[in-house]
Subunit: 574 residues, 2 copies
């Protein structure tokens, strides 16, 4: 008799597993249950649908060969039955039955399974604040909501938008509103930076500056306290510090696993409600699999389970679940948490652990920063990119990498290579010799990823002593915080000159890079010198030289002016 | 007393090692000897200098902060002495002395060393054919030659160019001649494909087609037999098949290690003359290091030493040599042989072993091909990319990856991630779950690199049975080679129809992908069906279905029409 496979949830992991298991077991009866009528869509494409980059919602539900993935498609092309508009109410594990309800008619039914898979995904976290139920308040949770948001914009009903949450979806939605539709847009983020926990503050500052340069207002460290409305319709948002007018409010405050059905069935779940699975995507009931946004997976760096609701992981987990349901013992070992997003003209990406998370996880973590050229510096399309590498001082393992650069695939190349390497436990030394395919239009002979590994190597061995960007910026705001500090600016005199004029020669000493060897005796005594150049590389060379010359009271400003400029500083003389 | 470090060769590995060791040992006396007056340049940039993308040769000798790396720069900025125009004649290992000669004056001198490094690089292979010494015949070996080539073009002296050698430098030079200067350009390659041993024939065919589409003539399988001239000046090239007129001939037939000085000193070298070094870049004499194009390094896939003359490796090896000369036991473990190049509007890249090399090395090697979208298929900048994965059937290890796609960094991202993974010994299964940072503007939820791993997985487990591109193309040229074959075209009827019309319904059966489940009984009996779609993915689905339906006489055409179209086929009805 043919095996009955039932899959609850039809967005990403569910359909992937369904099609895979059907291919592997042509005689199996595979059924997907989804409460929605629109399913199997690319949810990550919603901001691009709202912006207009994707013109019709059906494109998000289509294959690459332009067939809409509806019930007929799954039946005819895949041999998979989809019961859409059907809500799964409960699992009876003893009788191996899923109790379902037709959403429209309320009619109930029992669906028997031999193997069950839960792919119920996530739901957006709705902040418990007054006004959350007003007309015009949206979460980004399904295609219907996306269609309505776009419809309102297209009809000219949205002049002002507020996004609650400066995570990836929040920022992508802000860009969608602003870039194509010219909507006056604000982002309110409770934490003191955008993209909290994903990237650390230096790169987050660059993102914030770039968003602001593109006329998106960003308010950091401000919680949303009340959504304001008149006659049931949203009119604005109140934070502790201000009231912002709005015709639409997007709540993008993260997502939570949708796992009630698993909890009710007595399956093991994490404290936050994610379903616990093994490497074969099996829950605590061997007949029930789970994958996608409703499960937690192993973090390959921290060695702990974590919650990583991403469509790309959902698909990979779904394939592994499909294999196992068909008797192929594939494994999904875990993830390193790779992240990437477009924000107007820039790209931001990360993999592994941020410094903040690494420290919280107990690593002896530190960071290297650098801001070199992304390809041969003589090649016309060359641009500056900024990278931060997080490493463990004791083991020399690379824990994470974050990058910021112009829009394109150049940052991808470094972050993806790092993700592969980090998943395999690579060290700083491995990164130093990582082989980025080299030709001048694509990379530098010493690629940016090698360069940052060199910085980490020099830091780890104590050859490079640095000040943090934070300490330096604090000092620039208030020179009394380090009365004994002075900058040693080794850039071209035309670059250094205006700073000397502004801050005075006792606080800002300018000696060009190639003159330090002959002029270092001019350096002030009894000062700790913060060595500053464009990317930080030359500063380290000068520090090494001064060490040899007996002038060891120096610190390098990693990443140099290239970093500072992208973070947006107001004290720099233009 | 300060240690004397002498480095012979000042292009890439030499300067890198010199500066590194000086930073680590500020009291060392570091001297670079180079026979040329122009040194420390980005040799890989020469084609872009000739094309005009790089306007002045000094840019190839400059730092990213626009200082020319001449003798003064090295002395003042780096504390390193460069003796340019000085040829190293011999090493007296007993007395620890290098005998040198001033190239201009002929004056000889002994330079004592405590530690010596050989970074003498490579020299172009000059074909032993008549006419190789004619005026107008160039190799791409140093900046002087590059300057003269560009000078001749700029002065209008070059109307027709012939490049001998279809390797990377040959193709880059051909593009330089053609693209910016409009020179009538031909490439003559002795082997039956361009980029031999680096990439396999399917991708090589795509490169050839793209070069020809851009009006570069490519002659394959034709050896250069004689360079023709009049009055000592080149006028053309004669092969076994034709004579091609030329005002300039570029000989780009590969390079050989420049290691005479090492051989004469009795250091261990390989049969081809590359200096043998250990992981610390030490030669058979512990006081002598070597790095760059004059050494051989370990291939991390084959486990054998190989010759990899690349500026990027030279720099990495140079840094390791610098560390070790200063007493830091860094290691350079080897390389996977990553390769990338721009050819007009496309990018070609590879890492690891090609199928040809893998088979020659004794692996149980096979290939997977696919041609999917490079990012979310609904994102406006989406494009088709072609990948070939080489894997070992017995161990399931990935041995190599080759890619072809539009110019940009998208191919880099996949090849660089693959290089990191392959260097760590990753398997097909690792590639299936490789975490490419995902957002629609950058990648697909199932990225192209995951997709090709899925193909390899299905091939390896015997679930996917394929025909090779070669067999299929041979059959299309002469249908009698497989009288029992027919195509099962599962594409849209508008795509399949013209082929049915042309080849007849007995040879070309068209049933759309989503109708096969209901119409498979229409399929002809006693035929082996070659299933054809755009990328190969749907074909596998249909093969799986037909297997379940008892119709197992099928083969998938991996890569499908997307591959065929890019290879340039003349039998396809337009």
């Amino acid at each position: 008799m043919s095996k009955k496979i039932v899959i609850v949830g039809g967005v990403a992991a569910g359909p992937k597993a369904a099609c895979r298991v059907k291919r592997l077991m042509q005689d199996a009866e595979v059924t997907i249950i989804d409460q929605d009528t629109l399913f199997s869509y690319g949810g990550c494409g919603i901001p691009y649908y709202v912006s207009g980059d994707v013109s019709d919602e059906s494109e998000l539900r289509s294959t690459s060969f332009h067939m809409v993935r509806n019930e007929d498609f799954f039946l005819n092309a895949k041999g998979v039955t989809v019961k859409s508009g059907t809500r799964a109410l409960a699992i009876d594990r003893k009788s191996k039955v899923v109790k379902v309800e037709d959403v429209a008619s309320g009619e109930k039914q029992d669906i028997a399974y031999d193997t069950l898979m839960i792919a119920t995904g996530s739901r957006p976290f709705v902040l418990p604040i007054p006004g959350a139920d007003l007309d015009g308040v949206f979460t980004i949770s399904d295609l219907h909501k996306a269609i309505e948001i776009k419809d309102r914009i297209a009809k000219g009903k949205v002049g002002k938008a507020v996004v609650i949450g400066g995570g990836a979806i929040g920022l992508e939605m802000a860009e969608a509103f602003k870039d194509l539709w010219g909507v006056e847009t604000s982002v309110v983020e409770f934490m003191p930076q955008v993209l909290p926990r994903i990237i650390d503050s230096p790169i987050a500052s660059m993102v914030t500056k770039h968003m602001r340069d593109n006329d998106v207002d960003i308010f950091l460290g401000e919680g949303a306290e009340e959504i304001l409305g008149v006659d049931g319709k949203v009119t604005g948002l109140r934070t502790a510090k201000r009231t912002i007018e709005a015709d639409i409010v997007i709540m993008a405050a993260g997502v939570r696993p949708r796992s009630e059905i698993a909890v009710d069935a007595g399956l093991q779940t994490s404290p936050m409600g994610a379903i616990v699975v093994n490497e074969r995507m099996q829950t605590s009931d061997p007949s029930i699999y789970a994958a996608g946004d409703c499960v937690e997976v192993m973090h390959l760096v921290s060695g702990k389970k974590f919650y990583a609701p991403l469509g790309s992981l959902a698909n990979k987990e779904g394939r592994v679940a499909g294999d196992n349901m068909a008797g192929i013992p594939s494994t999904f070992k875990g993830a390193v948490g790779s992240f990437i997003m477009k924000a107007f003209d820039v790209c931001i990406a990360a993999t592994g652990l941020s410094l903040e998370v690494a420290l919280a996880e107990g690593f002896d973590a530190d960071v290297a920063l650098t801001a070199p050229s992304d390809r041969a510096h003589f090649f016309p399309t060359e641009a500056i990119v900024c990278f931060q590498m997080v490493f463990d001082r004791r083991t020399r393992k690379v824990l994470g990498l974050q990058g910021f650069g112009p829009m394109g695939d150049g940052i991808s190349a470094r972050i993806d290579a790092a993700a592969a390497y980090i998943a395999m436990g690579a060290s700083i030394d491995d990164f130093g010799t990582l082989e980025m395919a080299y030709a001048p239009p694509f990379s530098a002979a010493i690629d940016s990823i090698n360069a940052i590994a060199y910085v980490a190597d020099n830091l780890c061995d104590g050859r490079l002593r640095k000040t943090t960007l934070d300490s330096f910026l604090t000092w620039m705001e208030d020179l009394s915080t380090h009365p004994d500090w002075a900058v040693l600016d080794i850039r071209h005199p035309l670059e250094a000159g205006p700073c000397v004029d502004k801050f005075g020669a006792d606080k800002w000493v300018a000696i060009p890079y190639n003159e330090v060897r002959s002029r270092y005796q001019e350096l002030p005594e009894n000062k700790e010198l913060i060595i500053l150049c464009d990317a930080g590389t030359r500063s380290f060379e000068i520090q090494s030289f001064l060490d040899g010359a007996g002038r060891q009271e120096t610190l390098v400003l990693s990443g140099g002016m290239n970093m500072l400029r992208r973070m947006g500083i107001d004290w720099y003389p233009e």
